[in-house]
């Protein structure tokens, strides 16, 4: 059970990191449209 939770946490972390990466593209637009 503990191992499953650790693995699920890993999946969630990857999704969060990807969302963070997607925010960088918002910054690109923000800088270029200032």
């Amino acid at each position: 059970m503990k191992r499953v939770l650790i693995e699920l946490k890993g999946f969630m972390i990857e999704i969060l990191f990807t969302l963070g990466l997607m925010v960088l593209y918002v910054l690109v637009i923000w800088i270029l449209t200032l």
Partner: protein
């Protein structure tokens, strides 16, 4: 084992094994067809199942002596099995396409299957909006299975019969070892994909119902979009592709999963094992972050200045989305094909072509030259320049991080550069053929980069009416691009060797 036709027997035996596993997949669309009381489609898939199973058993019977080898085979046979399997399965999977009445020719059906298997996403299918649910299920199932790899799927079940497993799946461009044994590695690849399938389909299902779709169609839409996103495939159940949903939130969810899908299975595994720092240290993530930021910045700059998209939301939905769809080799399009040609201009198209050629990560579902190779080549060149400038005579060890610290030596640089050069040669060949038929240069480069990098975005050249030679070349480009040349070259080499022996004998 009798030496006569030994190679052929080994190759056919294992190809038969994988084909047998594939034939079982045909039963899934049968279930979908029966759910919709679509007996005509059910029969199409039962027929395909029967033909595939008979062919598989025939191949295995012919090569049955291979069993005495107990899975210990030469690497070239492993590579050949991988490349031959993709050809055989493409021809078999095209049968239900052909029987559906939505294809103009069998070549077109094979083109669509190759596009699905290689996670490209272009298609020649007619009247996509009115195909059966079973055929739509089949299209997306093929792209999902193709993304993980057919050989990888077979190894998850038949590893005892295919003892030299690594030699088989390395031919599918997945030279990865997650855990010390082959079965464990292939099962991890599937486990990661299935967990994401559950998470992604659930989120997209809720989102699709929020858009007004009733639960059952919403489920199938969610499943299809997830399969196409995760496999960086780009298929969608409707002609308008991702624009059909007309929703920024739905597009963003798809975007999360196609970006994750373009990452290396080694990276997924490391993160699942709790190695969070890997995300920030990995050469492929760094390479993807830099090239995608540069690409989006250039495209946003070009299209904002051209006045095509004025506000930030439109720039994100139409420009960033398409550049990332190209870079991850997904192929979801949030604008119509001809808009690229008519609105994006020279710089916009150039960015897209470069992004499509670079592609996603190695050992992922993505295509292209791959971020790992781009990172290695870039680092190798920088190190050579540094050496020249500093005038150092001493040998300096250059390292890069990919799951672990690795040494960037001449052999690593050479193999990366060789694959990159082969990609560029294939790309140049495609551009020459396409322009020879009278298509404009920029549009030809866009379309050829799309098929070479297994992307699937189109600028409007690919259609059932395009010349037959172009269909053949694009199919070959998808196939070579996905299998990364080596295994296909092994197949060609073995065929020539076999033909030479046969001619000498008679």
């Amino acid at each position: 084992m009798n030496n006569q036709f030994k190679g052929l027997k080994i190759v056919l035996y294992y190809t038969g094994y994988i084909t047998l596993g594939f034939s079982i997949l045909n039963l899934l669309p049968v279930a979908v067809a029966l759910l919709y009381s679509d007996f005509s489609s059910a029969l199409d898939f039962i027929l395909t199942f029967s033909i595939s199973a008979i062919l598989a058993i025939s191949m295995m019977t012919y090569g049955s002596e291979t069993r005495t080898l107990k899975g210990s085979i030469n690497l070239r046979y492993g590579l050949t099995v991988a490349s031959l399997t993709w050809v055989v399965l493409t021809m078999l999977a095209a049968i239900p396409y052909m029987l559906s009445g939505h294809m103009i020719s069998y070549l077109d059906a094979c083109f669509d299957v190759m596009s699905g298997f290689t996670t490209t996403g272009v298609f020649l299918l007619q009247d996509l909006d009115h195909i059966s649910q079973a055929l739509n299920f089949w299209r997306h199932l093929l792209t999902f299975v193709g993304g993980q790899g057919m050989v990888v799927l077979a190894l998850s079940f038949f590893v005892k019969e295919m003892g030299s497993g690594y030699k088989f799946y390395v031919g599918e461009g997945k030279d990865i070892v997650l855990v010390p044994n082959v079965k464990g590695t292939t099962q991890w690849i599937w486990k990661i994909s299935m967990v994401y399938l559950a998470i992604g389909t659930l989120i997209l299902w809720i989102s699709a119902m929020g858009l007004g779709l009733s639960p059952l169609p919403a489920f199938f839409h969610a499943l299809y979009v997830f399969e196409a996103a995760w496999s960086t495939g780009g298929f969608a159940p409707n002609l308008q592709n991702i624009m059909y949903y007309h929703d920024f939130g739905f597009e963003l969810i798809g975007m999360v999963f196609f970006i994750i899908g373009s990452f290396n299975f080694g990276l997924h595994f490391a993160l699942i094992q709790g190695k969070k720092k890997e995300f920030f240290k990995n050469i492929e993530v760094i390479s993807f972050t830099i090239t995608s930021l540069l690409g989006t910045a250039l495209a946003v700059f070009a299209l904002k200045n051209a006045g095509v998209y004025s506000d930030g939301i439109a720039l994100y939905r139409r420009v960033v989305y398409n550049v990332l769809s190209a870079h991850t080799t997904t192929g979801f399009g949030s604008i119509y094909a001809r808009q690229f040609a008519l609105e994006w201009g020279g710089l916009g198209i150039t960015v897209m072509v470069i992004a499509m050629l670079i592609g996603g990560s190695a050992c992922s579902t993505a295509g292209g030259i791959k971020g790992l190779r781009v990172g290695i080549i870039f680092k190798g060149i920088v190190s050579d320049i540094k050496k020249l400038v500093s005038g150092e005579n001493s040998v300096k060890v250059v390292k890069y991080h990919h799951i672990k610290d690795l040494i960037l030596d001449d052999a690593v640089f050479r193999s990366s550069a060789a694959v990159a050069i082969l990609y560029l040669v294939m790309f140049a060949g495609g551009v020459i053929i396409t322009t020879a038929y009278g298509y404009p240069l920029a549009e030809s480069a866009f379309e050829v980069a799309s098929v070479s990098g297994n992307v699937g975005l189109s600028i409007g050249i690919i259609s059932a009416q395009m010349p037959t030679l172009m269909k053949w070349y694009y199919m070959m480009a998808m196939y070579l691009g996905r299998l990364e040349f080596i295994s296909v070259l092994a197949l060609i080499g073995l065929m020539f060797k076999g033909a030479k022996q046969w001619l000498r004998r008679y």
